[in-house]
Symmetry: C2
Subunit: 211 residues, 2 copies
Amino acid sequence: MSEDGIRILLVDDHPIVRAGLAALINGHGDMRVVAEAQDMDSALRAVACHRPDIVLMDLNLGAAEHSGAEITAAIRDKPSRVLVLTTYQTESDILRALDAGASGYLLKDAPAEELFAAIRATARGETVLSPAIASTLVRRSSRPGPTVTEREVEVLELLARGLGNKELAKEMLVSEGTVKAHLAHIYTKLGVDTRAGAVAAAIERRIIRPT
Amino acid sequence: MSEDGIRILLVDDHPIVRAGLAALINGHGDMRVVAEAQDMDSALRAVACHRPDIVLMDLNLGAAEHSGAEITAAIRDKPSRVLVLTTYQTESDILRALDAGASGYLLKDAPAEELFAAIRATARGETVLSPAIASTLVRRSSRPGPTVTEREVEVLELLARGLGNKELAKEMLVSEGTVKAHLAHIYTKLGVDTRAGAVAAAIERRIIRPT
DNA sequence: TTCGGCATCATCCGATCGGCCAATCTTTGC
DNA sequence: GCAAAGATTGGCCGATCGGATGATGCCGAA
């Protein structure tokens, strides 16, 4: 890795963004884009084929079936390290990605220099988080206020897809009463009183991400 | 403009994406990024100050108050031409931008070459649309299926914000009965039977955009 | 001009939702 | 081991929602 710099695999579904990032990265002597992928399947193949040091992955993969966290998990045991680059900072996304084994989580809001620093740090084996991300996580753990449960996030995500209580119950394999209990908790925690309002508030607070 | 190539103003709220696009564009001899802006206000100032030939604008400006179409309208009478570069292709966004006077509408899904071609074409005074965009517009006009009304789109957008029927009525300055009528029409057109489902379907069909 | 689409409004009724109360069971942590 | 928190379920009731139906006015196309 040291002779030709940090070898990077770019994963993003937007060719234009990909080309931009590649141009940006290749302008630096100590790192190089060795492959690109536009979806999860080709990303997996590229990892196996090119053995990059770092997978720079845009989690905002449009209407992807794979949750992005999935792929991170699939790559985790390979020698490559995954650096997630995304637009959103929903609690569920961050936690899911980190749980899956991502070595870093960066927001596109960050300045370009931060990206390079993050790439180098990740290559050194360190774990990198955007300041905004870090503060989100800190806020999460040290907030006296209401914290939505994992299960409640599930409910919110299904809610955003327009399911009714019966459907919610069937989907989550619980009774309708349980669903209503979760909903009641969510309502009080978010300070709303309708399902639609809950979805709006959840999106507002970046608890879930709009479909 | 001809001595130093096409002068471009980049507008995008993500520094990383901006840096990537700048690196990409500046790699071409016949075009150059002369200024960058991360929000609408600084974009307007930059237009007045640098007089770019083209404003390459990312409409996907996070939680922007300004609709993006607004700014396009504000720039329109200046000598600069606006080329919109975005992720989404909702009917309302496209039509709004074109109505506002954008000279082009490109999806990030497009290959990078298409971006350069679009920049050059826009500089020549032509109007450019992504193939996907064009087909969306064509589909819109030649589709036998259900077409949601302007008013119904309004309802859908408010619906996505979690309002109840009473609130809907107050917001739209009509009676609750009218709201329910609109809802009924929307349900049959989208093939759903709940407000949440309608929101999901509307987002799915790119009629509205998740907030 | 006539027909159809759109927006507007109203009423009735069954289904669903949201609020309130109470209970059991598992996990987590002190 | 015990307390706290989360997940689970049940029932009751008023409020809201969704479906069906009908009616009016406006405007553009045939």
